[in-house]
């Protein structure tokens, strides 16, 4: 199915206008859809963050939840220290920057030394370590009970919605521009064959770290927004593996390494989860689990490839945990 | 004794993704003869063997083994029909011992009861393997590994043995022994399809040869005729090793 550029552009525009207007015409507090869209926008960002590192650059990270949690904690700590305020852009930027900084520090040894699947496992360990560190962080991190922040500033759902929308749009724009630049080509070259890319003069480590840090940055932003939303952070909650796994599921379901895949995947999966939660709350996780299994069986290359009919051969390259570099 | 060639390849085309590797190739392999597929690197020889053994699938064309079509069969099914393919690079189980490699060669239910016998025959034919029975296959020398790969393929008592560049990377003396063994195997009744770049040595033992270039059949003929053919000599100048 080939869609003309003009048609897809108009569709995007219409959707954007819809998203902008919707919360203004409904009662944002009572509207379930406003909450749902807010959540989905966040997931789109998380999914694309992973997509940049894994789908486009081929470095499968299982530690995104580390950056999410770090983002949440930075926001809470800086607010309590009086440096930033409620829904403060500075707070969010600091969270993003902190997460990116962490990614660079951790990324240099991990990305320099570990190929593919070892890297994935290393990132997995990272998230877990950070969770334990925060639990044992004493008064700074509030220990196992976490940190609370002043919730009296809460007025409306709308700011969250629009901030999430803004972050999502900017992330998508950033991704779009990057993947169409030479930088994007370099990233994909690294994914296809890192040795060949290096032999062609691409500074692979630099680019891998860039992708990793950029993904961490947007994930940190989401963590920050999450902190502003829930007002009380528990280490188990903000470092929950779900924050790593769900975006991955969404991206793979939608089509890793594509632009629209993660967006589609985010909406579809979030929709499925929420619908299941509404219609059959007791059975919801079961339904979700069954859904994942069914989609995997019948659309193993993701929804995008199903739609476009184009087999996503890059999935072969993403073999996480393929510890043996085996050539068939 | 059935008449007709053992293996017939008709108008076979093979693609790797979007790239075509074999263009409309036809040839056949006669029973109990040694047939050679010659050509430079990338000529499509390995691809043809892969298509026969089921590792690759032809997009068009027929492959008939004793009258049965091999197209779209999985490799394990092709092996069960009596074709043993020793792939390029041998692909031994390097972490398993020599003995274990051989035993796995006789995995098929039809050959497993004969394993003891087959082992004796294999070790007699390749005495060097007997000494190294308990060693890990990966620790063998290049020549020994090639012997093991062929011995392993023989454990399945194949009707047709396909060898992909067995002489690659081996010292001339080892190659000499190798080709002697191939000749002996053929005398014992095994039909052989031999893919090689070592043209001279191959045509010394082959009965018939096909020459491939960039995926297409260039010429064919009896071994002796090819050797004395002027075009052939010209094409393979420098490869008469």
């Amino acid at each position: 199915m080939v869609v003309s550029k003009k048609a897809s552009f108009s569709v995007v525009l219409i959707l954007l206008v819809f998203f902008l207007i919707y919360p203004l015409v409904v009662d944002a507090e009572a509207s379930y859809l406003v909450y749902f869209f807010y959540l989905t926008f966040v997931y789109v960002v998380l999914a694309q963050g992973w997509n940049l590192v894994a789908g486009y650059t081929g470095q499968v990270s299982l530690g995104q939840h580390a950056f999410f949690g770090v983002g949440s904690y930075i926001t809470a700590i800086t607010w309590n220290a009086g440096w930033t305020g409620y829904l403060d852009p500075l707070g969010m930027l600091m969270s993003g920057a902190g997460a990116a900084f962490l990614a660079i520090i951790v990324g240099i040894p991990l990305l320099a030394k570990l190929r593919g699947d070892y890297f994935a496992l290393g990132t997995l360990g990272l998230g877990e370590i950070l969770r334990v560190v925060c639990i044992n962080g004493g008064s700074l991190t509030g220990g196992a009970l976490g940190i609370g922040i002043d919730s009296s500033g809460y007025q409306s759902m709308r700011p969250y919605y629009f901030i999430a929308l803004l972050v999502a749009v900017m992330t998508l724009l950033f991704l779009w521009l990057v993947m169409r630049s030479n930088l994007g080509l370099a990233l994909m070259a690294i994914r296809e064959d890192e040795t060949a890319a290096a032999a062609n003069g691409i500074a692979t480590l630099k680019y891998k770290i860039f992708a990793f840090a950029a993904g961490a940055f947007v994930t940190g932003l989401c963590g920050s927004l999450n902190a502003y939303y829930i007002f009380h952070l528990h280490p188990a909650g903000v470092f929950s593996l779900n924050w790593a796994i769900t975006p991955i599921l969404m991206t793979i379901l939608g089509g890793a390494g594509t632009f629209w895949g993660p967006i589609l995947g985010a909406f579809v999966l979030a929709g499925v989860f929420e619908l299941a939660n509404i219609w059959m709350p007791e059975l919801h996780p079961i339904f979700s689990g069954a859904f994942i299994i069914l989609v995997t069986l019948f659309m193993p290359d993701g929804i995008m490839s199903f739609i476009t009919g184009h087999k996503q051969r890059i999935l072969q390259k993403l073999s996480p945990f393929n510890w043996l570099v085996r050539k068939t | 004794m059935l008449a007709g060639p053992l293996l017939e390849i008709e108008n076979v085309n093979v693609f790797y993704g979007d790239a075509q590797a074999v263009w409309d190739v036809s040839f056949h392999v006669d029973r109990q003869k040694i047939t050679a597929l010659l050509g430079a690197n990338g000529a499509g020889k390995s691809t043809l063997l892969n298509a026969i053994s089921g590792v690759a699938h032809p997009s068009r064309g027929k492959i008939l083994f004793a009258g049965n079509s091999l197209v779209k069969l999985r490799p394990e099914k092709v092996a069960a029909m009596g074709i043993s393919h020793v792939p390029e690079g041998r692909r031994l189980f390097s972490r398993l011992t020599v003995l274990e490699n051989l035993e796995l060669g006789a995995y098929l239910p039809s050959t497993r009861p004969l394993m003891k016998e087959s082992l004796e025959r294999a070790l007699k034919l390749f005495p060097v393997l007997k000494e190294r029975k308990g060693q890990k296959a990966g620790s063998l020398s290049g020549g020994e590994q090639q012997m093991l790969a062929i011995a392993r393929a023989l454990m399945a008592r194949p009707i047709l043995l396909m060898l992909d560049e067995p002489s690659l990377g081996l010292a001339p003396l080892v190659v000499k022994t190798l080709f002697e063994i191939i000749r002996v195997l053929n005398r014992d009744g095994v039909t052989i399809l031999l893919v090689e770049q070592n043209v001279h040595k191959t045509l010394e033992i082959a009965d018939y040869g096909y020459v491939l270039k960039t995926g297409m059949l260039q010429m064919e003929g009896r071994a002796g005729d090819l050797l004395s053919n002027a075009d052939f000599q010209h094409a393979f100048l420098g490869m008469m090793g």
Partner: protein, 296 residues
């Protein structure tokens, strides 16, 4: 935690660590086998263990069958279960690369956990056998009878798998397929049959682990994920492709946790385990017993 712990206590902690490690080891072997054959981390291994634990629980509660006998029932059931799951699900996506298999494993885990929670409530269960509190006194060290039995069973299970891989044709085929699938196929070995068998064995090992879990810990439907993670770490320590390595990796992990837990705190024990995990990955990714693997 001041002063040097006395030797007896230290030894006690050490022994506890080994016993704990055996449990990790059993989960790790299954993981390692499945990985070698299908190239995915079967993240649902922990959930499978818990399923077995529930089976043991209900058998014990209704019929008072001792868990160690219940184990004889569990083994064939889980073997069959594994075969069915592989043929029904994983075989279909085997050619589509690793990601679908990974997703399937994840979906299976979610499904299992929540089905169990739905069927049997998320409440914690324990299997309290009459001998649960029994301890053996060996040279001043108290060894729990249950944990000792579990360790024996684990070692026997490891030995059985080891013998299977080394001595039987199917076992050799499993090793062959895990090294070079195509070469195996050319010899007439069906990779999908072998993978199904491997998966079935992996599940059976999960069953063994579940029996161990049921009598060692109070458990709930979501307890398994932690085991999956620990099994993963154990495999990383021991190295891939090595059954003995998986068990030893588990024991090392158990000892490490036990020591950290005693000398520092239980909370930090986890962090140390993960830190060690990272270090091993960076400095010796092939583990202590595995083959050399290509690094960056």
């Amino acid at each position: 935690m001041t002063g040097f712990p006395s030797f007896a206590i230290f030894f006690q902690v050490f022994i506890n660590g080994i016993l704990l490690g055996c449990m990790y080891g059993v989960a790790a072997i299954g993981l390692s086998l499945i990985f070698g054959s299908m190239q995915i981390i079967f993240i649902a291994q922990g959930a499978v263990m818990i399923l077995a634990a529930y089976c043991i629980y209900w058998m014990f509660t209704w019929t008072s069958i001792d868990p160690f006998f219940g184990f004889l029932v569990i083994l064939p059931i889980f073997l069959a279960f594994g075969w069915v799951i592989y043929v029904g699900f994983f075989q279909r996506v085997a050619k589509a690369g690793k990601n679908p298999s990974l997703l399937l494993a994840f979906g299976l885990m979610v499904l299992l956990e929540h089905l169990m929670a739905l069927a049997w409530t998320p409440n914690t269960r324990t299997v309290s056998t009459s001998y649960a509190a029994l301890g053996l006194d060996v040279m001043g060290i108290n060894i729990s009878f249950t944990r000792l039995m579990v360790s024996f069973v684990t070692i026997i299970a490891t030995g059985a798998v080891f013998l299977f891989l080394k001595k039987t044709m199917l076992g050799k085929a499993v090793r062959g397929v895990s090294e070079d699938t195509r070469a195996a196929a050319l010899l007439g070995i069906s990779p999908s049959r072998v993978s199904a068998a491997t998966f079935a064995i992996g599940m059976a090992l999960g069953g063994v682990g579940g029996v161990a879990t049921s009598i060692t810990y109070p458990f709930d439907p979501y307890f398994g994920f932690l085991f999956s993670l620990k099994a993963l770490i154990a495999v990383a320590f021991g190295g891939l492709g090595s059954v003995e390595g998986a068990l030893l990796g588990g024991i090392i992990l158990g000892v490490l946790e036990s020591l950290s837990s005693y000398t520092i705190s239980a909370g930090w024990a986890d962090a140390i385990a993960y830190a060690a995990f990272l270090l091993i990955l960076i400095f010796r990714p092939e583990g202590l017993f595995g083959r050399s693997v290509e690094k960056a």
